[in-house]
Symmetry: D2
Subunit: 411 residues, 4 copies
């Protein structure tokens, strides 16, 4: 690619305007927090061992299950997604165990890195970060493990670094085809409530998620759903742990469910978030994400026509409904784009992570989003890119409008 394009000569010298109006938060998490949820959190704390909080949290534990489409146990941690990763690993594995971590992108790398810190041995299926995980490659890797040293397969459903969603059902098929007994653990941090995840139907043993993406909450709560096989593995795990320990959290006493004080305000917010999801239905939320993501893709496709920008995800069918990762020309730095969008157009977009650091920017479109929010984001990013002199194909934002002008039913 030898695209010519002017750079904004001195973006930094132009004073940023006053911050007015909605802040468009189009990073791939944290996401926009609905006013209903912020209001639900604007309240006094509760006596943690009083009947009101106990009733509330009991119901929450129940109501989280259908979000994961599981009848297994769901654990709620005061933690972030990394905490949930550690909970998944430390409850089911023992130091020295091997695990298979197909390389989805930055987040499989970080999870694997954590696993190594926990004295697990990591086997990987390498990738160029531009394609979803190939089930056949996973099947092959597992077939090679004839002694079943691999105790778990760790899959990131949607890697927000790459903007790619892998096919969990197909991957389950691959494990089954290999006849391998490894646990199947899915990082659903960016996928929960944005695309379908059928934990029980697809035999996912552990699914982990966090509050600040499709669940629309502030960061600070993490969720781990565990099926029967995972609980059995827990019984055999020798990893030292207490805070993450499912055993303790399954005790009858209510306070042990949180290993200490519950993150009450996130629970208050979670109540509202689940209510909102139930009002919309999960299928409604999935359809909305698909519709809005397609608007983003149609716009970006136009931009890419000029040859300067590219989708990171090579295969259109693998592009995530949660986030779109866009590769920049080699002479444009991510931070220039981010700063222009943020300081002059009130839109925060994500930067590149890991291998893509400095080379990509990311438009998040998950959570509490709607048509004008997406169009406002795309329009502002288009204006910012033009102002930076980026060559863009014609019709970007218009293509998004066209797509959204069709009834949802017809799309």
């Amino acid at each position: 690619m030898s695209v010519q394009h002017a750079r904004a000569p001195a973006v930094e010298t132009v004073e940023a305007p006053a911050k007015r109006g909605f802040e468009f938060l189009n990073v791939p998490g944290p996401t926009n927090i609905p006013g209903r949820i912020l209001n639900a959190m604007h309240r006094p704390a509760l006596d943690f061992s009083g009947p009101e909080f106990i009733a509330l949290s009991k119901q929450i534990f129940e109501d989280l299950k259908p979000v994961f489409k599981t009848e297994g146990n769901v654990f709620i941690y005061a933690a972030n997604g990394h905490g949930a990763w550690e909970a998944a690993l430390s409850n089911t594995l023992s130091p020295g165990d091997s695990i298979l971590v197909p390389e989805t992108g930055n987040f499989s790398a970080s999870w694997a890195d954590m696993a190594e810190a926990l004295e697990l041995r990591v086997v990987t299926v390498p990738s160029d970060w531009r394609r979803a995980i190939d089930p056949n490659a996973v099947e092959d890797a597992l077939r090679k493990d004839t002694g079943h040293a691999i105790k778990a397969v760790l899959m990131v459903h949607t890697d927000t670094a790459t903007g790619i969603t892998s096919d969990i059902q197909a991957l389950r098929g691959a494990i089954d085809a290999a006849g391998h007994p490894a646990l199947f653990m899915v990082d659903a941090i960016a996928s929960l409530a944005t695309v379908d995840l059928r934990m029980d139907e697809w035999n996912v043993d552990v699914a982990i998620a966090a509050s600040q993406k499709g669940m629309m909450l502030p960061p600070g709560a993490a969720f781990v759903a565990a099926g029967e096989r995972a609980l059995k593995a827990h019984a055999a795990s020798s990893m030292p742990k207490r805070y993450w320990d499912w055993g303790d959290r399954m005790a009858k006493e209510h306070y042990r469910k949180f290993c200490g004080t519950a993150p009450e305000h996130l629970i208050f917010g979670l109540r509202e978030a689940i209510d909102m999801l139930n009002e919309e239905t999960l299928d409604g939320a999935f359809a909305r994400h698909a519709r809005l993501a397609e608007a983003v893709r149609r716009c970006v496709e136009c931009w890419c026509a000029a040859g300067a920008l590219q989708f990171n995800a090579v295969n259109p069918l693998e592009r995530a409904n949660a986030v779109t990762t866009i590769l920049l020309p080699p002479d444009v730095d991510t931070e220039t784009v981010r700063a222009m969008c943020r300081d002059h157009y009130r839109v925060s977009v994500g930067g590149g992570l890991g291998k893509l650091m400095g080379k990509a920017f990311r438009i998040g479109h998950m959570g509490d989003m709607n048509e004008p929010m997406i169009l406002g984001c795309l329009g502002a990013v288009e204006a910012a890119l033009k102002r930076l002199g980026m060559p863009l194909g014609e019709g970007g934002i218009g293509a998004a409008v066209d797509w959204l002008s069709h009834p949802a039913e017809a799309r």
Copy 2:
């Protein structure tokens, strides 16, 4: 106009989707209320006669003056804009007085109607609602009043029904040219903090405004600024009044400044609103309104190219920076457009008022607005109009993006 266009066959039968994400409030008031202001109002009431509230409100009375660019008195009412209208009339006039009310649109009509209820005699300068007030016509009307029966000229600066802003400075010139002593009263409800209004420099005697437009507050507070000549007229007024009475409100005792309990929470919000305006500067706010309004106009201009839609304001230079009024083809009802935008695209646009009832829709773009908010609104309205089968010229939203892609300094 004999435009052909399809109508959405059965909009009503398509179930509206769940309400998710920001609500885009693009009616011409009330406007978007910044989180900072809502937070400033989320607090306990204060002892109305305690030192904290007294200090706060004293400062507010001072800090409102530069917003009007006056050194006169500003009165704050628990009321809406209609209340401010009545305050202006009842404090300066007496039953039987004549007034001149040039016809700007729906709001001059309503104000005149109120004046008649208050037993004033209304002289008007008629208009087709598609042009700003002609200063010459006002001068003529005043010259004819050789006996100076007309005690006041009432001008709506920006009539939100028509989307037209009249030239206050030129109108002042007209009054002066006629050598007429009538008071000059300006309804700045939709103009305050959106376009320049120099009360003292332009010899405006009374300016009235309300909380829910450029001031970014919830409705419920109204402001009346009065210069010296207006206070003299007050001394001579025989209109029965107490709640509106400036005399009472100029008394030393603090509680009399509000004729009873102050609308404290609106005062708390007003403190924050004035701070925000001061951070941005009034000139910054005016420039922002001009920039965003031009984006709307460039988009609408493209739409109009297909012949179905028209700007209500014939003269581009008279189009308001606060709101754009768009005429619909005769066979399209405003409510169809409004419902589609609202129910399927989460954008509230205004309907036609008065003569334009059912014949126009209005996009509000004043107050706490920014680039992606405007682009999101325009994109969603464009999608809605397309979905309704409205013939639209090409490139609407793209033209808005283009305009906004230039640095503010260069526009």
Copy 3:
């Protein structure tokens, strides 16, 4: 009274501590605003002419009726209580009309003063401000008006200056006994939702109220309930008016119900307030006010035993459930007491008004109050008075605790 007591020598020189914890707002209005209501107001404005706001406000107009126990019309104004007073007068009377205003205290005086500004002639039944209005005196005054020049009787139900509640039903009886056709207008600002008011059963023609007392809202909304006879009087009234005019507000078009833009956020709060009242029931709210007020009275009675303090209300049965007015010894200034309570004990109490200016302080106990709030207020005021060297009888706060230690049913 020649009570000896030390004064705090220099209260002002002791630096006030940091403001921490709940602010105890024990002025007789504005009152404590529940978090539920503040949250209900922490939201975007609505399109004033959209279906959501119209449905909400229609229901509110209906739901306010049972609060007044009327089937008449209720009008909602962006205004305060003084605005409601003016609305009541200007809609039903004409310049030159006579009215009877029995002297309840500061607020009958202010209302009468307003009436004079509106060119009404005021006849009064004088009082020493320490007793409820005597129905016989009202009957006598009306009997003397053989020509029925008096068009209305204006009664303040609970005058917050005096802490006295008059007997509305008995006063109705007095008017009937005199066979007088005057309208009966009741200022229920401090009584609505704190003590029973049966507008229709007691033949009250107009009742006025405001948002910031028993209704638990921020100040800024005022309510006027009007029965059939009042509406008939409206038809005959010649007072110039528009903002207050019931006729305009009874028009079909929704926007006319508020004569311009509605005070939307107060309506959002009002929805929540009415829901809360309905959950508790009006009778529950009355009983709670009676119970808490009795706790205050038992405490204050103990304080008074030392001879320095006195109840303003001579007759215990006339002491209001909304506020208690306490006379100070002649050498103690109200502001000293208020400042000590506020700056050192985080409790705001009211000062004396009108004749009682500087001579009394007032403990408000209406609205969103409960047992520990009242006990906290009383305990802090007791500590403040002791710190000021005020002679107090023993057992004040203890007596309040004793009273509240009995089950509500048994009280």
Copy 4:
């Protein structure tokens, strides 16, 4: 003790009244959250890797140091106090290490229990839970450990189960006197910002705390402060860990400071909390806690005079400024007391924990508290106890008022 007292025969059959007014949260954590903090948290999330959040969190890490009175490192976890416990242990110790955990009450027991789950060996200094830790006993225990197998001494500064504060400075002296090199770790969860803790001056190696006590925040954030010796121990620790790992969190990249996404809203709240503490000064906050706690103790002392109730803490000087634990007569169950306070008097008090389960109740008085809040709580609890027929000595609440009637300077 053979106290006779009636029991409320059927508390449960009396319907609880409507929940109105402030909720008095007098459990020993979570505590009252100031409106300023709740408002600071009512805002959109921020781009976690944008300059605004990075600047904010960098400053927070600095500003937490003086709260601990340390120049060491402070780590912030999305976790609760138990998480902070685990962070302290897993960063500095290795499986198989011995630790000394003097028995302060329920929380030393839980921390020791966690340590065993992490494969540490626990040595204890037993206690009857009614006295502070005896420094001599700690010195003896350490002297016996001639081989320095004990790697750390774990001390709970204020055990909220017992209501007792131990003397950290004296315990440091004991360790020094024994010439023992063990790390000194202090659980300051209930003491931070309520009583003095001078981490550096007293040579505390690790101090842990959480958000929901003296820091006035919702639960969900935990803090670990680590001095130089602790960081050295970290380098030698072989405990598997990642989420808690200080090494990772000391990396330059900002996002690693939180091992994943930061609990942004708690950081927003923390900013406000630290600002509030700085406004009051730490010494001011300590003095306020001491003053309010003494009011509680004076009241409870009166109650105890009747012989039914007792302070759990035998030694008055050891009674905590954060919480008061009160022993109930054997035939009264904690839950009866808690339910009466909560359901009929809107005050939540804590129950007994561990050994004291069912035998004690606890009044929390830490965090964002003031005089009327404490007096309201005490008055309501006194009423509740009386209603339950509990024999109480005279003058409880009155003694608290007396104490608080003296100027703070004179106490």
